[in-house]
Amino acid sequence: MANEIRLLRFLAQDMTQAELGKRVGLTRQTIAAIEQERYSPSLEVAFRIAHVFGKRVDEVFHWSPPDGGPG
């Protein structure tokens, strides 16, 4: 799932992956996997990540259907 986490971390005084992981209850490796779109987090974690940056979930994560229709 596409996301803006890397950009949002940069804008949040270059927050590290480990620091973000600590705040949302994930390992640094899982934050890296989410950023690289190798892992789609649970809804609860998505909300927690968005909360850390003070954003809505849809401002952090972007989903588009496989058939290319509107997301």
Binding site: A18, G21, K22, G25, L26, T27, R28, Q29, T30, A33, E37, R38, Y39, S40, P41, S42, V45
Partner: protein
């Protein structure tokens, strides 16, 4: 690399070689070594070698692991659950074969080795699926 993935690699590196040698001996030279104690000694040596390798690796991971805090999260749980589910079916198949069918057709070491083979196969599958899970895209539970 997460601790779970390191453990999976450790299982593959410590378990597969020793049991590969063990089962090669069982297939190639089924009568060697002769006698219960000698055969049991061979199995104990193989199991001991595996245990020593695994414990040494685990201690090395703990000694070298400098990361604080969380060691396992929802992604690790999801990967582990998927790998364990597949390994469970292999183990159940082996249990049915070695525990419910073979006692009526075979006996002794053949039954024991079949059970052992399925334990090794299920653990190997679990480790392989765990390693693969960290490399492929995955969803949460």
């Amino acid at each position: 690399m997460t601790l779970i993935e390191k453990r999976a690699w450790l299982t593959l590196w410590t378990m597969c070689p020793v049991y590969l040698v063990y089962f090669a001996i069982q297939v190639g030279w089924p009568d060697w070594p002769s006698g219960f104690l000698a055969k049991f000694g061979l199995l104990a040596a193989v199991a001991g070698l595996h245990a020593i390798g695994y414990i040494a690796g685990e201690l090395a991971f703990r000694y070298r692991n400098r990361e604080d805090g969380l060691q396992q999260d929802e992604r690790d749980d999801a990967i582990d659950a998927r790998a364990t589910r597949a390994a469970y079916f292999v183990l159940i198949s082996g249990t049915i074969l070695a525990g419910a069918i073979m006692p009526f057709t075979d006996r002794g070491w053949k039954v024991a080795n079949t059970a052992l083979l399925f334990i090794v196969l299920s653990e190997t599958l679990r480790a392989v699926l765990t390693v693969r899970g960290y490399r492929r895209p995955a969803l949460a539970h």
